[in-house]
Symmetry: C2
Subunit: 326 residues, 2 copies
């Protein structure tokens, strides 16, 4: 085991921060580290929080994290920021500390952004959750803006997904139907003291009542509750946290936590295999003199895209068709 | 050469329709057909027409196609419809015929939709363009709604991309910035007799003047013209077609037609190789007893996603690293 892994498992936050940096940078050795850490995972609850900008996600997440700390639970927060450049280690813990009584490193806050592709961000987030879980955090919160499909894919890797809705967002509730509604295990109408909050709560309840959304709902009789919160004052935060725990209990009792985990692992294997194979093929193409020689043939009508593709893929096909030596 | 390919090259519209059906269905043998057809391509101008629903795309495309026919040029139209179910061969030519004096099959109209993935639709569209080009159509028009990234990817495979903008769409002009503006080689403000058309034309010209958009504009001194059309009455259609030809002339004179074509072929090779390799790996996974056995190991913490991925990818890596026998 590497020293870094050992230090992380011993509870050193500095080692945790370094591991997550390696994960984010795809530094040499990060895969071995994540592999080693995997066997120490399985005890954290992973909670996804998403919602449109201005819904009050960060305020609510800070309050929730602080309340977990007051109860003696440890927390890690990963805030996904796909648009802005990487904010770096300086943010570490700062945001949480300011708003919290805890003032300790047991709320570990990390902002992650897409250095490379958003697909890469998704894998990096999964790996960062592994690190936080192996470290021993009781609760891991993934916070995303929920803007695009990639972010939806990231937040849905959580055990429990909370969708924050701003009040009087009649249009937004309609918008929610496209992708977000399906993944919500609970809704929070935040800023519930503002005008229109009641109407938004009502709209959400009606939508849920008429059974729109909820993917894969055959084996799924969970009905997402709608919680009213005022994150600024802390009102409703306890109810929010109770609803999260209700859903986690439901997942355990119904066997769905394991089922969800299994399908997540399957998806992760597929994504990793795809990424690695693409890298291999790009290297193979480069070794064969690059793609331009093939393009020359196609332009000259001496070959065509399907024939070229078969030439490139054929060695793989033969290789895989050959009887295995295992 | 197959009879079907021979019939297509001999100018039989029925063979063309059957080939495009095979392409759309991914029927056995479609790849060999497209491969054979490729060497007969290279003479068609490919024109992409996109714009929001209600911008008047189909009316304009019909008028443009009919005008090409009156000039003695042959035309194929592929209308991309990613949302609705496949409309089938019945649509063949009907829409065009109704609005046209030509009344012949030399305007070949085909609606295509996403049977499988949108990625598949993109490949199928490219293949259908190959069939129309090999058939000898002088002009191939790809018509899309321009809603998502996939449709943008499809329409940008054209030599010349026209973006239709409805009048008084101040908000829409802002929206255009996200993706569509960059790919437009010319704009048409359709329904130019309606209120607000002048303002929209003005807004577009200002936006273009301030140089927003235009990806890869270093080697690119083409300034997209803004044409006013009234597709219903045919007003502006000649100007629209002249602007298309201006752009095609510009592409030829600047060498960009070939450069664009080369980068399209490179992208096509990569997409096909990726798709084929994914199929191979899924088959390999199935042969190894499916992904579930791997998930079992991961859940039991006997293995982890990266280790499993390496087990699956290692045979490919060895295979590709082995000295080539060519």
């Amino acid at each position: 085991m590497s020293d870094l892994v050992e230090d992380l498992l011993a509870g050193e936050h500095r080692a945790l921060a370094r591991v997550i940096s390696k994960i984010e940078d795809r530094s040499p050795g990060y895969r071995e580290i994540v592999s080693e850490l995997h066997r120490h995972t399985g005890s954290a609850d992973v909670i996804g929080v998403t919602g449109s900008p201005g819904a009050g996600k960060s305020t609510l997440v800070d309050k929730v994290a602080a309340t977990y700390r007051e109860r003696g639970e440890t927390v890690g927060v990963i805030a996904i920021d796909p648009s802005s450049p990487f904010t770096g280690g300086a943010v570490l813990g700062d945001r949480i500390r300011m708003g919290s009584n805890a003032g300790d490193m047991d709320v570990f806050f990390r902002s992650m952004s897409a250095r490379g592709s958003l697909g890469g961000l998704s894998t990096a987030t999964t790996d960062a959750v592994t690190a936080l879980d192996a470290f021993g955090k009781d609760r891991v919160i993934i916070e995303t803006v929920g803007a695009g499909q990639n972010e939806i894919d990231i937040v849905r890797t959580a055990d429990t997904v909370a969708v924050l809705v701003p009040p009087d967002s009649g249009d937004d509730v309609q918008m929610l139907k496209a992708g977000i509604l399906e993944i919500a295990d609970l809704f929070a109408v935040n800023k519930a003291d503002l005008d229109g909050a009641n109407r938004t709560v009502q709209q959400l309840k009606e939508m849920l009542h008429y059974g729109q959304g909820r993917a894969g709902s055959d084996a799924d009789d969970w009905e997402p509750p709608v919680i009213e919160t005022i994150a600024d004052s802390g009102e409703g935060v306890e109810e929010f946290m109770a609803a999260v725990d209700d859903h986690l209990d439901y997942l355990d009792a119904s066997g769905q936590r394991e089922a969800k985990q299994r399908s997540r692992y399957a998806a992760e294997i597929r994504a990793l295999v795809r990424a690695d194979t693409n890298d291999l093929l790009e290297a193979e193409l480069a070794q064969r003199g690059g793609i331009e020689a093939y393009v020359d043939e196609i332009v000259a009508r001496e070959s065509d895209p399907y024939t070229v593709t078969e030439e490139i893929v054929a060695p793989l096909r033969e290789c895989l068709d050959a009887p295995s030596q295992d």
